[in-house]
């Protein structure tokens, strides 16, 4: 059984503090310091939020996917390890939903300003909405399924949901879209001016450490819930054994 030591608690608070500090610094960079984009004006500054968050909302699903595979592998062989993997899968799925929601919302605000529309059914937007729906349904399944197989069903759903992640990533490379082509590693007319990169990297770093922070926090919370459940189950068994004596 894991016990939170004071050191661990201090590291967690330090990590939290660093996340806030990096995000604040990134905010100052993005909003006040880096030059305004020539084509889009100040509206273009949402780039420093939308893109890092979108990138992370494609990374957390992979952690969820790997954790789900470990769950499926361990669930009969080593049930206790399987529960750890399950807790990580749950934590990353929740953070995926948070990040992809922010990605969709910032994208819609941005689209309204620069494309003139809130939404369009192009491959990138559609596949991203599908990703959001898949992970929302993953959480709903975990929440409302009453069967004893909930964890297994959720892990299987996670494996299928992960198929959508590379499709979202490749959609702007494979198909014609309303969404711009890749900014990083794209064609000759793409890229970010070096003077604008600090804001991008600080925000990418900030949202990454913040994301890890909430994943770890949520993971620890789920582990505690699991231990409490095991404790309760153990007590119930002990109590049932005491009656006949």
């Amino acid at each position: 059984m894991e016990q939170r030591t004071p050191t661990l608690r201090n590291v967690a608070w330090l990590w939290f503090g660093i996340s806030i500090a990096v995000l604040a610094f990134g905010f100052r960079q993005a909003i006040f310091l880096v030059p305004t984009d020539a084509a889009q004006g100040n509206v273009g500054r949402i780039f420093y939020y939308h893109v890092p968050i979108a990138m992370l909302s494609l990374i957390f699903p992979y952690i969820n996917f790997v954790a789900s595979l470990f769950y499926l592998y361990w669930r009969r062989r080593e049930p206790l390890k399987a529960l750890t993997a399950d807790a990580l899968a749950l934590a990353t799925a929740e953070v995926t939903v948070v990040y992809s929601s922010i990605c969709l919302l910032t994208g819609m605000l941005w689209a309204r300003a620069v494309w003139g529309i809130w939404w369009t059914w192009d491959p990138r937007l559609t596949s991203m909405l599908l990703l959001w729906l898949l992970y929302v349904s993953y959480l709903m399944l975990r929440q409302f399924s009453s069967a004893g197989q909930t964890h297994t069903l959720a892990a299987v759903l996670s494996v299928f949901a992960a198929v959508d992640v590379p499709i979202v990533y490749m959609s702007i490379r494979w198909w014609r879209t309303q969404h711009p082509a890749p900014v990083f590693g794209g064609g000759p007319d793409s890229g970010v001016d070096p003077s604008m990169l600090p804001a991008f990297y600080w925000n990418l770093a900030g949202w990454t450490v913040w994301g890890i922070c909430i994943v770890v926090f949520r993971f620890a919370l789920e582990r505690r819930r699991q231990f409490a459940e095991q404790e309760a189950a153990l007590q119930a068994i002990e109590a049932s054994l005491e009656i006949p004596q």
Binding site: A38, G116, D122, P123
Partner: protein, 151 residues
């Protein structure tokens, strides 16, 4: 598996592989010939009679100086690799601010036999390039990426 009577995971794995392979195949083949989101001007002009009967989205760069705004309506020309398309936009909303000379734009509407495209909706399309305005006041027109016509 420890328990022999238990259902073998092989079936499940095979089913999963089939589903994943199908999705991958559809994505891959779709990637080569999917032109559904928009057509280029060249493709529009090469469509023959189909071009006049379908609701289409056409992409191009706005010809500099061709925009004439009347209220929320506008007329302008779209250019793509030397081809020109006259567009009459009649919509309830004014075009977005990013709709200007040399910008990439998508016109949504129908193509009429007089060669004019009647748009009911305009969507700007942004380049994937971010750069500050140069000090030497050249408008950022060159930043508008050329359309991926070969896709």
């Amino acid at each position: 598996m420890a328990n022999v009577t238990q259902k073998s995971p092989i079936k499940f794995i095979v089913a999963a592989v089939i589903i994943v392979a199908t999705i991958a195949y559809l994505s891959f083949t779709g990637g080569r010939d999917n032109k559904s989101y928009y057509v280029t001007i060249g493709e529009l002009q090469g469509m023959g009679n189909k071009a006049y009967t379908r609701h289409l989205r056409v992409a191009g760069n706005v010809a500099p100086g061709s925009i004439h705004r009347v209220g929320t309506n506008a007329t302008f020309d779209l250019l793509e690799q030397g081809r020109k398309l006259s567009v009459v936009y009649q919509g309830s909303e004014p075009p977005p601010d990013t709709f200007k000379d040399d910008a990439q734009a998508l016109a949504v509407g129908t193509y009429s036999r007089d060669g004019v495209f009647h748009a009911t909706q305009l969507q700007a399309k942004c380049a994937s390039k971010y750069a500050p305005a140069p000090a030497s006041a050249t408008p950022a027109t060159t930043a508008a990426a050329t359309l991926p016509a070969t896709k």
